[in-house]
């Protein structure tokens, strides 16, 4: 598909949505400029959630700062604390026990499952297909209970600590068995859902060709994560992360970049996550889960990139006397905002919310590094 070019002339009709809107869980504002119900230009404004996390992090002891990064996002909280610990571990050359790495991968993949299920449920909700939405929400509960079993909480698990994982999150035989059984149940449920979804010609005709993001444009906008892979680019940071060296999984891509590709993308990626968790359960090595044998020293700025459910997450900071300095965090939704605005162009107003949701927005994560000008 060739490029969709936003019109540059003045468009008179503007439809604002937000900041609190039923279809969007989070507060953000989108302005749709329309001609004959066709969106010609979209503009997303965020910043309502700004809490200044990087600023509060300045000067915190590194352990406390790690715990704070977890509160950036309630959906991918584990990814933030994982990457923040990883940054410090890279700077301080801390060796992580292999068992801890496996548990981190299990947590990461469980989180990817719950994030993708939330996406599917939310997507079906915006499509007004409540039955599918409820069905996915019910599947999601299996994952949430597994997360609560390992981390002790349904949302903020606090799994990673410097040098490994919290001893509470160690997996004994009973927990591994439950994890294994629930993965079987989950795969069965998910297979049933995907079969039903793919057989629903009404639903497929509703999502095919809506909110198209061409591949060329996706690369131009530096889109990351499943949204990029749904346009046919096989780019997944998990293939380069040392934690995933021992795991065998495929990078899923979809050809079209529309809502259908995005939905199928998430469903297929969930199967890969189940595959990774199964491998982790089968091969989890014995040993301790946390390495307390390390020393604190001052470091240069350390950078760490990991693949989180929504794309590439970047953390960087410098350690000075055990305290965090110059912290920078870049979340995947920051890059995907461009994709959301672009996907709306050329579609009906009624599909605009769907086009935004298809890029899996998480504006809570993103509202940090924004300067607020008070008037």
């Amino acid at each position: 598909m060739d490029e969709k070019v936003p019109k540059s002339n003045i468009i008179e009709t503007e439809i604002p949505m937000g900041t609190v809107h039923p279809a969007a869980l989070e507060p953000y504002r989108v302005r749709l400029f329309v001609e004959d119900e066709i969106v010609q230009e979209a503009e997303i404004t965020i910043g309502v959630n700004h809490r200044g996390i990087e600023r509060i992090m300045e000067g915190l002891p590194v352990e406390k700062a790690n715990a704070l990064t977890e509160k950036i996002c309630g959906i991918c909280s584990n990814s933030h604390i994982w990457n923040s610990c990883r940054t410090a571990e890279m700077g301080l050359n801390i060796e992580i026990p292999e068992r801890a790495e496996y548990i981190r991968v299990i947590m990461g993949e469980l989180e990817r499952l719950h994030s993708h299920f939330l996406y599917l449920a939310h997507g079906c909700e915006v499509l007004s297909h409540e039955t599918f939405s409820m069905r996915v929400f019910y599947m999601r509960e299996i994952v949430m209970e597994l997360l609560a079993m390992i981390g002790g909480n349904r949302v903020q698990y606090g799994c990673s600590v410097l040098g490994g994982v919290r001893p509470r999150c160690d997996l004994d035989e009973a927990k591994l068995l439950r994890l294994k059984n629930d993965m079987d149940a989950l795969e069965e449920n998910l297979t049933g859902f995907v079969d039903r979804f793919m057989a629903d010609s009404i639903l497929l005709s509703r999502v095919t060709g809506i909110g198209v993001l061409p591949q060329k444009q996706a690369i131009k906008l530096a889109v990351t994560g499943p949204t990029l892979r749904a346009t046919g680019v096989a780019r997944d940071l998990r293939t380069t992360m040392f934690e995933y060296d021992n795991f065998d999984f495929n990078v899923i891509t979809q050809p079209d970049g529309d809502v259908k590709s995005n939905l199928i993308m998430r469903a297929l990626e969930s199967f890969e996550s189940i595959k990774i968790i199964r491998q982790a359960i089968a091969n989890i090595p014995e040993g301790k889960v946390v390495n307390r044998d390390w020393e604190m020293f001052d470091t240069d700025i350390v950078q760490s990139y990991i693949e989180v459910p929504r794309g590439t997450l970047y953390h960087s900071y410098r350690l000075e006397g055990g305290r965090v300095r110059h912290s920078i965090i870049r979340t995947p939704s920051m890059a995907n905002i461009g994709a959301m605005q672009y996907a709306c162009i050329g579609d009906q107003i009624t599909d605009a919310q769907l086009c935004i949701v298809q890029c899996d927005p998480c504006f809570t994560c993103t509202d940090r590094a924004i300067e607020i000008i008070r008037r």
């Binding site: 959630n49 000067g59 309630g74 509960e141 949302v155």
Partner: protein, 148 residues
């Protein structure tokens, strides 16, 4: 029980307002009302995004600077009798964002919610558990039904 409270008990509308937390409480509250596992809808508690329809306002998050005025406007728009539930440690005391001081304290947080609008019930937790949300909303029902 008068006819007013009788009919009100069959249509409790909960409005969720999100004032800058981490999304965790939010999804758990939506989960506890919509999702089939907890399903508050079976007790005739519904989620709405229209303040004029709402009976109970559930507020999550520390109120950020930009969210203060919208929150006040939403509170004003809800017809009487109205009840406010503050859910999650951010809404109760500002959470980590207000109390976790590094070198530079946060200036964005106006919360806790009590500073902005009156609060009737508090649900602790980071993030709140769906069971606690249901218990919190249910504990308010007598107040709501006995009003006028």
């Amino acid at each position: 029980m008068g006819i007013k409270s009788f009919s009100r008990a069959r249509a409790i509308h909960v409005m969720l307002v999100y004032t800058g937390g981490c999304n965790g409480c939010d999804i758990e509250i939506v989960n506890s009302i919509l999702s089939p596992r907890f399903d508050a809808e079976q007790y005739k508690v519904f989620l709405t995004w229209n303040p004029r329809e709402a009976d109970v306002l559930v507020v999550t998050g520390p109120v950020t600077h930009l969210n203060r005025k919208p929150l006040e406007a939403i509170y004003e728009a809800i017809p009487n009798p109205k009840l406010v539930v503050a859910a999650g440690s951010c809404a109760l005391m500002g959470g980590v964002y207000k109390n976790c001081h590094g070198d530079i304290p946060s200036e964005e947080i106006e919360g806790p919610v009590e500073n902005v609008i009156p609060v009737n019930a508090k649900i602790p937790g980071c993030a709140v558990r769906p069971q606690d949300v249901l218990a919190g909303v249910v504990s308010l029902l007598p107040t709501l039904l006995d009003a006028d």
